[in-house]
Symmetry: C2
Subunit: 495 residues, 2 copies
Amino acid sequence: MLVRVASAACLLLSANAFAQNDGLISEESAATARELMERGLDSDIGYEVVRSLTTEVGPRLAGSEQEARARDWAVQMFTELGFENVRVEPFDMPYWNRGEIDLRIVEPFPQNLFATALGGSAATPQNGLEREIAFFDSFEDLRDAPDDGSLQDHIVYVNDRMISVQTGAGYGPANRKRQFAWLEAEARGAAGVIIRSVGTDSHRFPHTGMMSTPSARSVSVGSHSQIVIDYLESEHPDYETSNVRSSIPAVAVSAPDADQIERIHALGETLTVELSAVAGWRGVRQSGNVIAEIPGRELPDEIVLIGAHLDSWDEATGAVDDGAGVGIVTGAAQLIGQLPRAPRRTIRVVLFGAEEVGLLGAFAYARQNASDVGNIILASESDFGAGPVWSLTSGTSDEGTLFLDEVQSIIAPLGIIRGDRANNGGGPDIIPLAMQGVPVFRLTQDGTDYFDLHHTPDDTFDKIDPDDFAQNVAAWAAVVWLAADSDVEFRMQDE
Amino acid sequence: MLVRVASAACLLLSANAFAQNDGLISEESAATARELMERGLDSDIGYEVVRSLTTEVGPRLAGSEQEARARDWAVQMFTELGFENVRVEPFDMPYWNRGEIDLRIVEPFPQNLFATALGGSAATPQNGLEREIAFFDSFEDLRDAPDDGSLQDHIVYVNDRMISVQTGAGYGPANRKRQFAWLEAEARGAAGVIIRSVGTDSHRFPHTGMMSTPSARSVSVGSHSQIVIDYLESEHPDYETSNVRSSIPAVAVSAPDADQIERIHALGETLTVELSAVAGWRGVRQSGNVIAEIPGRELPDEIVLIGAHLDSWDEATGAVDDGAGVGIVTGAAQLIGQLPRAPRRTIRVVLFGAEEVGLLGAFAYARQNASDVGNIILASESDFGAGPVWSLTSGTSDEGTLFLDEVQSIIAPLGIIRGDRANNGGGPDIIPLAMQGVPVFRLTQDGTDYFDLHHTPDDTFDKIDPDDFAQNVAAWAAVVWLAADSDVEFRMQDE
């Protein structure tokens, strides 16, 4: 990345010579964007924000004391960096935690496996479960399996692999087993479920992540978990969709451990495993969204909302997921806040709580700020690690699309092309806003390696490349500035 | 590696055209060596041996039931592959095991750390230890610290880093803290010791490994732990050298956790940690060496001894340490055993037990076979992973050196140069034999990445590159064949 950033910096120096101002972006505003890009490539403020969060708070599971500490940290951080209107918007949420887990092969070749509970997993009975494995090559094989009682007294194992794709497009297909294997296993009377981790690495780290439990979302937002409800209605019409929680333990094993299960299965051996887990739901706790602003100089009621999520899974310090996003959007906004002249519109930074466990902060934000949602003229989240940005996508009005075409030409020296001009959601925590018609953009990052670390204990600060990180800050600072300093109508008229 | 192996195979096909036979190696023997190299590049027998060991036995801690299963596995494997004189030579050993460990930062920023006990570590008191950290940048800083009582009621932390070197030369300097920090800490009244893992990766795996406890070796072999005794005599002349064991817990943290400790220390904060460990010595258990032979056709009493170690640490399946060595020497010997004509001398394969805990199998072998040691005309061990061989080194008579110069010219197409012609020990388990004058060689592997995995839970079968592995088998088959099929005197006359 060093080479690209270095050449980008050189291009920036001469960029004014080539600037074409076709009217939607003023020359003054464009010049400021270029200045912000140069400062972004040089600034370490955002990077130091991630260092501070991952060091001084560490892991911050949604609803935990550590997440509460993260909110205190964020309030102090925003205040010290000169943001205005710094506030916390708390909300209640159902609390799940992991606790200890033990998984070992009992027969035919006794050995321990590296496993972790999936979010929403139930505990095993106190003395654990010892069961034969029912091996499925894929989630589809499990879904299509007959309910003939053959899974009674078994633990289901689902083996399919995730592929590494720059866009992260391998995640959706691979993630179906994490989301729904428990439902299919439980419906067939299985005692538990084990999946090959949803990840692209070959290290001995299991990947956690939430099972799709409508209850996790419905407590705070009613029935927003549409994907789960749709699935249940089409596949399991007899389920109660109002408060479905897994009654069986569901765990992921690391890729090398999944390979081990696969090799033993390939020998034609029957595997028996012993599983002991204490994971479970623990009542209601508090989470919260932390909000900070740079008030607009002319149109303060119009808001460019940029976000990231403050919570992380509990086994790592959440550096790439989503400490990086916190640092990128904060670092970019801070650079804009340092300018002698504020942008015309308000920039609102939202650090969402409880993203990992079902976008709870995002839905709480949309609910708690319902009267204000119409004032959000553009929104985006950074939540895909710290790899370099390579594409600007957007879902806005036609005028907004043309404007963002121009924006892309300004950030092109950072190595960023123009991507899709159709709504792609703006990031996980933006979904509830986008569902209400809020225009969105994304600065799409290279996620080739993202799922090596995603939801593992290995998601730590050392994994962030400072140069790639700085390129993100530079891009965000420019795009956010240009949108906030404009009066372009990104919202669609018919919404 | 594919490219190199492919080009090596092409070279082999035409190698006869360039072969120079200057007398020590017969043309017939050289032709057989070349044939073995081609077969080695194509054979998957050795690779499948590693797959079988790591899958069907898994982890195999010295003295454990799993190590006993590994001996049964080895006997069956050697027998099925057609080896002769397959036997186990058992020996008693002191047994240490790890058990659970918990390490967390209590102040200033509460969070869990990923740690593992070092081999030989004592347990903490049952309720754990909560102590301030005494931070040392390096082992030397600790060693040179005054004994002024300032470490009383502290847990010592030693931070220095290992560098990655192709030869593995970074291990010795970095390993001093693993070997001796407990001694220095204990001597100054500290309650425990934590080290940055001895490793070159940046993953969340702590690296275990034996502390230097003379007792571990002295039980079976008297006082062979000369390095420890030398150190004690020069630095701590008042120590009882006959049975020194750590009375304090000693643990390693992963590199990212060490970074975390370092960052918090750099903020000027006092760290308090809570450590709970149950590791300790558990009496006497049995280990054993497994031996198999290809009897020589003319000089059966003269032995070319090749080895690897059968035990592994308990947290992984020991694929690169030392399943790879087991597969490489077995695969090479099996290829020789398949030839229509046996070599002149006997090839003896020794899979040593209890290497990790102090070369106990190696010392037991030398003791139990004392009358036979003089018949070993050349010895070597493969115990440095599965990276490609790049150098042939040796420590033999002058005639042996000239012979091995010729051998190198035959294996050169595999990408192997001639290295040092002075005794470099032949591999860890060969040390006791080399100390008695047994001539040695090594096929030096590329260890650039070896210490990424070494002694971590991540040492699993998927980490072995089949092409690199095959190059090892090819090189071993050729060298061992040529030495065993010759009547060259490798032994030095004055020994």
